[in-house]
Amino acid sequence: MQCEEARRRLRSGEDVEAEAHLAECATCFAVLEEGDPLAGVLRAARPEVRAVPATIAAGVLRRWRTPRVSWRLGLAAAAGLLVVATVLAASTVWLAPATVAKPLGVASNGLDIVTTIVNGILAVPRVLFADRPAVIAGYAVLVIIVCGLWVRLYQSIAFQRRRVTR
């Protein structure tokens, strides 16, 4: 289709064939746009630069301070932690029942509680790799890294901000 014919058809209404031409023709688009008084009217009706409301800055700060906890991400993190803890506990009970013979409830003081937890966490590698202290140490480091990553994940969840409902 020739440009003139396409423009004539497009000026008089919708025309699928002419629109297909328009889609490919930069000249027709420019000519039609410049020849359309509505384009000029639209440009002239552009809303002016507006004064920024004084409440904007306060609103940004309010949002910044309002933690947004994504329940999906939080749930996934909690479920992941639960799975890891369950596997750890089950393997400890199975492989090193003596470690859990003394429940936390009867621990005499804070240090006792911490010792019991650490013994529980390290029970499995201590049973499996009793003769290789480097592996046990590596396992301990891995546990620390995983805990650190989980804390970081929680922080990143809390770092997101919530839309403040007006």
Partner: protein, 151 residues
Amino acid sequence: MSVYTLTYRMLGNQADAEDATQEVFLRAFQRLHQYRPSEPFGGWLTGIARHYSIDVLRQRRPAADLVEPSSSVDVERTVIDRMDRARVQAAVNRLPNRERTLLVLRYWEDQPVDRIAQLLGMSEGAAKVALLRARRSLAGILTREVATDAV
């Protein structure tokens, strides 16, 4: 141009513009590591504002009164010549979100067609045709309004 003015033009009302401006600044701060100092900061910031406004418009419900394009070109031209700014702005706000976004980006934000196509996820050719149709829809609204006034 300020982020607030941009969001106001894109979203068409003060409440949404304030809301969007706040969100844009938060996003900018959270994504500051993505900013490349070789680019103008203002352009980067308005880019975030433009994308966010388009997201907001996409989430809005479609306009209840879908506009039928008009084809009575001569009548429209007469009518359009007498349009005042406020009336045109109100008519733009009555368009379906997609058409409104196209017109705002093109005529109020002076964006090139290829950029508009990129922002709205369409081909450049489709954007050209959509712009033409959006202008027709707007002309239809304005013509009907003036006809109603005359009655």
